[in-house]
């Protein structure tokens, strides 16, 4: 499973950033050391050897930066490859793809519908200026029952008492 391994190495690199950087540091460093030592055994002074090596090979910082770029490049490339693979598999199994898309869209649609309903009925306040000052007035203890509301004069009395 290529993608699993890639995901793991990407994850490890993020978690152990310091260790990975040290590792790269040591790797590139030892490369330069070996090159310098060869010059030393050819009879140059350490400074001269180090200078010539840097001149010939360019700085270590640049080398390390290009390695980091290679990591990023590999990660993006891997992602693109996975996406292409996913598309190909989906195209090859139209039945599965249809069922998957249908169940996803039904699920999403149902959830959206239910949320819209709950949002309007329970969560959003009424579209008036001061919804917290609204009151609901109803009869209680009356014999009539049913759909009766207090008559308008009752409402007027209540309103005038409030203010």
């Amino acid at each position: 499973m290529g993608w699993l391994r890639r995901l793991r190495s990407m994850f490890l690199r993020m978690r152990h950033r310091r260790a990975v950087e040290d590792d790269l540091d040591e790797e590139v460093g030892s490369y330069y050391e070996i090159r310098v030592e060869r010059r030393l055994s050819a009879g140059l002074t350490r400074e001269e050897a180090a200078r010539l090596t840097r001149l010939e090979l360019g700085g270590t910082a640049q080398v390390k930066e290009s390695v980091r770029e290679a990591w990023t490049g590999a990660a993006i490339e891997g992602l693109a490859r996975d996406l292409r693979y996913a598309c190909r598999v989906l195209r090859k199994n139209p039945g599965f793809t249809t069922v998957a898309i249908l169940s996803l869209s039904l699920g999403l649609g149902a959830n959206t519908a239910i949320f819209t309903l709950i949002n309007t009925v329970m969560l959003k306040s009424l579209p008036v200026a001061n919804p917290e000052r609204l009151f609901f007035i109803d009869n209680s203890g009356g014999k009539s029952g049913g759909d009766s509301r207090p008559p308008y004069p009752c409402y007027e009395i209540l309103r005038d008492q409030r203010t």
């Binding site: 290529g2 391994r5 890639r6 190495s9 590792d23 040591e26 790797e27 590139v28 030892s30 490369y31 330069y32 050391e33 070996i34 090159r35 090979l57 360019g58 640049q62 080398v63 390390k64 290009s66 390695v67 770029e69 290679a70 990591w71 490049g73 590999a74 990660a75 891997g78």
Partner: protein, 109 residues
């Protein structure tokens, strides 16, 4: 480095994989081996060598391990199973390219 031939894209990967086919090697040794085998036509600087090594390792074709060599810690790279398969594949591709280009050149001559 100016005297070395320009590397065709992907050629460096092939050269590295082939070099590691025989035995695990560290960075300097890989560059040396390629330079020797190509009689100095390909001189691989660290600026191209290390990104290539890490790219190949990222794909799982080679694997780097710290080892001791002459009292120095070096990171040695070894070919993996998938790397071996990839090498076979790239060798085949390379021969195809060579044959095709040669045919075009023969046409010209």
């Amino acid at each position: 480095m100016a005297k070395s031939a320009d590397l065709l894209q992907g050629t460096l990967d092939l050269l590295i994989l082939r070099t590691l086919e025989l035995e695990p090697l560290h960075g300097v040794a890989i560059a040396d081996r390629i330079e020797q085998l190509t009689k100095g036509v390909f001189v691989i600087g660290p600026g191209s060598l290390f990104p290539a090594l890490h790219r190949l390792a990222e794909r799982g074709w080679i694997e780097g391990n710290w080892t001791e060599q002459n009292g120095r810690r070096v990171k040695s790279y070894a070919l993996t199973g998938p790397g071996r398969k990839q090498l076979t594949e790239e060798k085949r591709n390379w021969r195809k390219v060579i044959t095709a280009v040669n045919q075009v050149l023969a046409e010209e001559g």
